[in-house]
Amino acid sequence: MTEATSSTSQRGKQGVQPLLDLTNLSVNYGNIAAVQSINLQVHPGEIVTLIGSNGAGKSTTLRTISGLLRPRAGEVVFEGRKISGMPGHDVVKAGICHSPEGRRIFQRMTVGENLDLGAFLRKDATQVAADRENVLTLFPVLRERLQQKAGTMSGGEQQMLAVGRAMLGNPKLLLLDEPSMGLAPVLVDLIFDTIEKIRDQGVTVLLVEQNALAALRIADYAYVLESGHLTLEGPAAELLSDESLTKAYLGG
């Protein structure tokens, strides 16, 4: 592979178990099939990106992993254990945190309370305090706003809060749904730098992005989703270097 990966990816090695394994996963909204029989693996230490156009089913996939939606068929396996069918709070307990699309921060609570909720299930108070410090160092603007009602922050600030809050869950796997949405270019760079830092701290990341080029630059492996079907997958560097692919799928 190329210099794009500084990770400790185990992908392709024989006998290595993926951290997250989606097998023949199908998800419906009523009669509408949003995700159809997809197979997707995330290995420990990787950044995997899931890209595709609007309505392709990316958020649906993440929401199913988190236990907010039930699959119609197929299953979600995390660390060798089937988690599809579990309630959402047990999925968090298993080690998956999700920064959802549209931020979904608690608007009527303060920034500090939102961060506390990110660590809702954790009992290790000293480690939580250290992680909180880490998040506030990554996003200094949050430190200035700890007492502010989250709903009164700007969209970009709310996005940072959503990402920081998910990090505070101390996840093994972090699901990020369009973390760069609505951010100024300099903040987009900051978010992508941060995602690499998070990965370097040992957290595995599944990243959904509209900004496919930026996502591919930091990712180890990529999947392309089109109308609910996976149409392409491969090492991110290969997808980036293949010009016809970037033209066809990424408009680049």
Binding site: S66, G67, L68, P87, G88, H89, V92, K93, C97, H98, P100, R104, I105, F106, Q107, R108, M109, E113, D116, L117, G118, F120, L121, G151, R165, G169
Partner: protein, 349 residues
């Protein structure tokens, strides 16, 4: 005047009706204030006596109103059965105190029995309310709003029938541990011991509830669930357990109110929940439904208004009690549809 200027500078056109509304609201508030002062000046002792009676009732309204507002705040359901849960609590209290413990007279044992009964009836209220949520409302959470509402109305009738079966069709009188005569006077105003007990217990419960909601993990989970259920799930909050806990809190408050009511009034009626429930619900709406402080203020306000109307020199008297209470509700809602402390808009998507 400043608000007019501000509105103009924002380029918004001022509707004439808005000015009329504001003026009308101002005149109304001034009118009510003038009426209160007039009553106070005419007969101060009588004024304070009825004021205390009003506060006593208002505290009970507040406790019941909290049950409506807690449940509405978390799942936007108007729990019509809540008043009838209160009524069942009064019947349990009366039977436990008078029949099982044999406590119908003032004294230390009576007081200890009262504490024990209060704990039991609070647990009863919490359990029944949790049961209603678990067996009925939970299954209807994603159904159209009308389905859980009708279910609540149905439960209300079921509770009333149970009350009627246990208590009989006509009211029952009971001896209580509060002697209505005992108390002391301050400047000619009679203060009953029972009034102080009601106020103290209510204040303690409110403090406890505020502590739970604002300071504990459970409270944090409640507030998160109220704002965004899926968002709370993603934080690891067990949403079902949190909703269940909220119903338990509301039921416990109704249980406490039931014991205080029964021991001060000494009467049980199977229809008691309908009227008191409706007034408490009104209090919750008046204060801004979903808002805990609002429910308490709404309850006290209605209690005091009722007290003054029923007993103050220029009051309209008991016959007009309900008319006055609901006129005030309608007026407040016309001018401030979200209630006194309610949020103007919901951020829910």
């Amino acid at each position: 005047m400043t608000s007019l200027v501000a509105s103009f500078s924002k380029g918004r056109t001022i509707r004439l009706s808005e000015v009329v509304e504001r003026t009308a609201a101002g005149i109304l508030v001034l009118g009510v204030l003038a009426w209160v002062i007039l009553n106070l000046a005419k007969a101060p002792t009588q004024f304070f006596t009825v004021l205390l009676a009003g506060l006593n009732n208002g505290a009970l309204f507040a406790l019941i109103a909290l049950g409506y507002t807690l449940v509405y705040g978390i799942i936007e359901l108007i729990n019509f059965a809540h008043g009838d849960l209160f009524m069942l609590g009064t019947i349990l209290c009366a039977n436990m105190m008078a029949n099982w413990l044999g406590l119908t007279k003032p004294g230390l044992t009576g007081f200890l029995g009262l504490i024990l009964t209060m704990i039991v009836v609070m647990i009863f209220g919490a359990t029944v309310n949790m049961g209603a949520e678990f067996f009925a409302y939970r299954r209807l959470r994603n159904a159209p709003k009308l389905a859980p509402l009708i279910t609540a109305v149905g439960l209300s009738f079921i509770f009333q029938n149970i009350g009627q079966r246990v208590n009989g069709s006509s009211p029952k009188q009971w001896g209580t541990v509060f002697d209505p005569q005992s108390g002391f006077s301050v400047a000619g105003v009679r203060i009953r011991w029972s009034f102080l007990v009601v106020l103290t217990v209510t204040a303690l419960l409110l403090l406890g509830l505020t502590y739970i909601v604002q300071r504990t993990r459970q409270g944090k989970a409640m507030r998160a669930t109220a704002q965004d259920q899926d968002g709370a799930r993603l934080m690891g909050v067990n949403v079902n357990a949190t909703i269940s806990f909220t119903f338990a809190l509301g039921g416990a408050m109704a249980g406490a109110a039931a014991v205080l009511y029964m021991e001060t009034i000494g009467t049980t009626r199977f229809e008691a929940g309908f009227q008191l429930g409706l007034i408490a619900f009104t209090a919750a709406v008046l204060g801004g439904i979903g808002n805990l402080v609002g429910a308490v203020i709404g309850g006290l306000l209605i209690g005091v208004i009722q007290g003054l109307n029923d007993g103050a020199p220029y009051g309209l008297g008991q016959d007009w009690s309900q008319t006055v209470v609901f006129s005030i509700l309608i007026l407040v809602l016309v001018f401030k549809p979200e209630g006194l402390l309610g949020r103007r808009t919901t951020e829910k998507v």
